[in-house]
Symmetry: C2
Subunit: 193 residues, 2 copies
Amino acid sequence: MIGKVADRRQAKVATIVAAAWGLARVNGIGAVSLRALAREVGMRQPSLYEYFDSKHALYDAMFADGNRQLLERLEALPPDQDPRRALKSFMRTLADFALEDDARHALLFQRPIPGYEPGPEAYPDAERVLGRAVELMAAAGVDDPGDVDCIVAVVGGLIDAQTSNDPGGDRWVRHLDRLIDLHLDDANRRSTR
Amino acid sequence: MIGKVADRRQAKVATIVAAAWGLARVNGIGAVSLRALAREVGMRQPSLYEYFDSKHALYDAMFADGNRQLLERLEALPPDQDPRRALKSFMRTLADFALEDDARHALLFQRPIPGYEPGPEAYPDAERVLGRAVELMAAAGVDDPGDVDCIVAVVGGLIDAQTSNDPGGDRWVRHLDRLIDLHLDDANRRSTR
DNA sequence: GTCTATACATCGATAGAC
DNA sequence: GTCTATCGATGTATAGAC
């Protein structure tokens, strides 16, 4: 088996990434230091360079991992014939995912690290998430890209307000379903006219 | 005049804060270093501690200054008898202000600096901004706090999407007026029923 | 692959002379 | 009030032993 050594390496990479998420949850994504991360996984700092060429490469791995987690959860949703119910379920899952872990939400959907932008190789999963959202909205009768943009912005706005101003509560996200209906109704009304 | 020395000090503080905004605009709010800031105002780095006890104190001064700028601009708006027009004008001014300067928008409305939260002494102006928004919405017939939250979140969502995904464009903010009407109509419909 | 050791850059912060 | 000098932390990177 030639793959065994590569597998072990991948497992170690996964361990390191998981430990990095742990540190990020405690002190914030910007406070993950390579020395602390190495300590967490029982290594010395230079040894991490065996697995990541730079700190940005670590961020890329975390970004890709986070998007993979999200995509996995979204794809596990049971299919729903009712396009509205399907869209709401999708968006609620997205919101729950974002609210579960501030640091992960920040890395995936904001630019919390000065000088770091996710590399292109980490984007495919992120684009699949958005693509699925667009599909679901189309099924619900939203054909104007402007309406898609609005719904995306509204959901993002609710999530951001929730995490910033009422972490752990539901003061904003409790309006999620109602606002989706409001915007779908409005989009349908304007497209059938 | 006893106040003269204090005035001079305040003027110097203002100069430093202005220079800090300049650096933030160029490299991002997170990349403002005390050494670069000192260089900018013709000082050495330790001398800045004569004016700010810590870097967080500098951030607090910038936060207060940004909110003061915003409040000034909002209070300069001409009064408008039509509550909807007044609210839209308020929100458009807010959006323009946010889109003008990414770094300022980030410091005022997000938490872009790991470990930094604005101190309580910097909040009054920020609360006056929100208070004015609530007043305008009340005048437009929005009496449910949940509806106020939704409109705040929607405007914030449009602004964030705009800065993140189409800086300099209007792909999201062009929907601002329409979405405000949509949400006001919905709030009014539900409150008069 | 992992280690020790080291180099050099940056950063915020402090001590103490003037 | 401003300076020089310095501290300890960081990230990045390398050399070389095992």
